[in-house]
Amino acid sequence: MKRRFVSAVLAAAAAAGVLAAAPRRAEAQEIQLTGPLKGAPAVRHQRLYREGRFELDPVFSFTLLDEYRRTILVGPRLNYNIKDWIAIGGFFYYGAISTTTDLSDQINAKAPRDALTAINMNHAGGNCGTAQPCTAASFADQTAKMQWVGALQATFIPFRGKLAIFNKIFLDTDFYVAAGGAMVGIQERSNCGGSGQKTCADPASFALQSTNKIAPTFGVGFDFFGGNWWSLNVEYRALPFSWNRSGFDSRGSGTNGNFPDGQVNGQDETFKFNMMISVGLGFFLPTKPAISE
């Protein structure tokens, strides 16, 4: 018992020695804490690019990882920066350019238009039998489009710093996280196959109709300040919601509804983590930033 006690005391002493010997750097911190810099901020005389200023950005957004259709959206983003670390605002982007992906082009060129695909592949009618195919129509016309995105959001700016490029160009930067709610205007294939609706093999059923989606939105980005009143902005943004991007009837019956049911409706919508990269040029008002203590 006594030996154990002695061993324990020695072990504790050794451990205490290790702990006491380890934090040499912490002692250096101690000097700062008790010295003239005690309580001093990490950054002095910082340009407060945001605090109390409005920020207006013309923005170009490019959708990423699109399956059937890419969209380039343009529009304004407006923020009011309450503090240097928080802002509120919103944006409205309009889908200015919408182009098909290579997959859409391949499907359009190679997919058969016959009785087996008549409810999924756009066609212009005809016999649509197995021996005589339907008259082909553009697959692109049935793929969904993102028409506009509007959002209200809060922006949180946790990191502020600077950047040296080739040791020649020096920029003030900040990193921000934005989150809010968005409304998205889309066009997708109209419902068909249900009671009172067109049959899905009807060529007219491939027409698109407008609808709105409500979705959360969040983004992360960098601002590179080129001067007191302007900045270059690069942002990644996500806009997750469900929609039927292909216009296919792919779900609705069978186990877990994983098999086609001859109808195109909400069950055929699939969740998509819609993503985009945005590039903007920010203009700040008033044009002169405040300087911190």
Partner: protein, 355 residues
């Protein structure tokens, strides 16, 4: 034997405890004896980068956008925005710091500075945004374990662990090797099946086994961030590029009843990436990189033999009338997101020039 263990523990305790005392700064005899050379315009930085920075006071303009706790003496630091802070030992915020902490080193220094002589000294006026880089990479090895995620292939994902080994020839240029193992981790997506069923069209798919590349890395950007206006961390941005091989193998989706692919194709690839490295310490960082692996892939032939399987040139023959592999190659971009750690060796280094 038990006695020996106890003696060892005692010896360890005796050896370790006094080190805490050695780490303490010796108190100057008589209060202000041997003050630090605060007025020297080019006070040498600590030899060991991990050692605490000296508490040297500012002697000239030292305000601005300072992010370091210790302003550089003499010439204004690159962090500065042009504002002029109080001289060392002077009135800060309306209160003389020396009245509060008379033992503070700059209080001792202030009494001994001859400002007239200091003003005559030559000052190297060149100013850098970050005067002393937080991490020196030159002549250090970098070990970078990471995990790789496919970004652009919606039909089959090619995720897998990877490892990069780099040697920095200079502060901004490195050469190294990089490899990713994909074998057993390729995953076909549900999206592909949905397309096949709805449109009766199949897209040829390939699995990857591994890729290995010889890369050059260039670091054109570096900087630092103040987090929440409180702590500071450093980062850099690098671009890398090179070439190597990738092994791919088609997945039988066009004619799965007859085609069983077993051989891997060795293909030449080129890669180009851009990465972001956030330093936790001078030897450990988190890495995020986007890389595009480009190569001419061999895909499954979308044409199918109509000969009977018993025919020697039929669908069971990989080199028959209709070969299993498409005779044309297809340019492929495999865009990857890599998340990992960066470990620099040796873990410490010495600055050659003063701060």
């Amino acid at each position: 034997m038990k006695q020996a263990r106890r003696w060892l523990l005692l010896a360890a305790a005796l050896m370790l405890v006094p080190q805490a005392a050695y780490a303490q700064k010796k108190k100057p005899k008589g209060g202000n004896a041997n003050p630090p050379p605060a007025a020297a315009p080019a006070a040498p930085a600590p030899a060991d980068a991990d050692a605490p920075a000296p508490a040297a006071p500012a002697t000239g303009a030292a305000g601005g956008d300072q992010t370091g706790a210790t302003p550089a003496p003499g010439a204004a630091g690159g962090d500065q925005t042009g504002a002029t802070p109080p001289a060392a030992g002077g009135d800060q915020g309306g209160m003389d710091v020396c009245q509060i902490t008379p033992d503070a080193p700059q209080c001792a220094a202030a009494k001994e500075i001859n400002f007239g002589e200091e003003a005559k000294k030559q000052v190297h006026a060149e100013v850098y945004a970050v005067q002393q880089q937080y991490v020196l990479r030159a002549q250090r090895f970098e070990i970078q374990p990471y995990f790789n995620f496919t970004l652009n292939d919606q039909f089959v994902s090619h995720n897998g662990p990877g490892l990069a080994l780099n040697y920095y020839i200079t502060q901004v240029l490195a050469i190294g090797v990089d490899g990713v193992w994909y074998g057993g981790l390729n995953g076909e997506s549900d999206f592909n099946f949905q397309n096949r069923r709805a449109a009766r069209i199949a897209v040829p798919l390939n699995n990857y086994q591994f890729s290995a590349d010889l890369n050059f890395t260039y670091v054109p950007m570096y900087g630092k961030f103040a987090g929440f206006g409180d702590f500071i961390f450093n980062y850099d941005v690098f671009i890398s590029g090179g070439g190597g091989i990738i092994r791919t193998q088609p997945v039988s989706v066009i004619d799965p009843d007859n085609r069983k692919f077993t051989d891997w194709n060795n293909l030449v690839n080129f890669d180009l990436g851009i990465g972001f490295r956030i330093f936790f310490t001078r030897w450990l960082a988190a890495v995020l990189e986007v890389r595009d692996l480009m190569f001419f892939d061999r895909l499954e032939n979308t044409n199918v033999s109509i000969l009977p399987p018993t025919d020697p040139n039929g669908p069971l023959n990989p080199n028959g009338q209709v070969p299993w592999l498409d005779p044309d190659t297809h340019f492929t971009n495999d865009v990857q997101l890599q998340l990992g750690l960066s470990i620099f060796l040796p873990t410490s280094f010495e600055y050659r020039l003063p701060k």
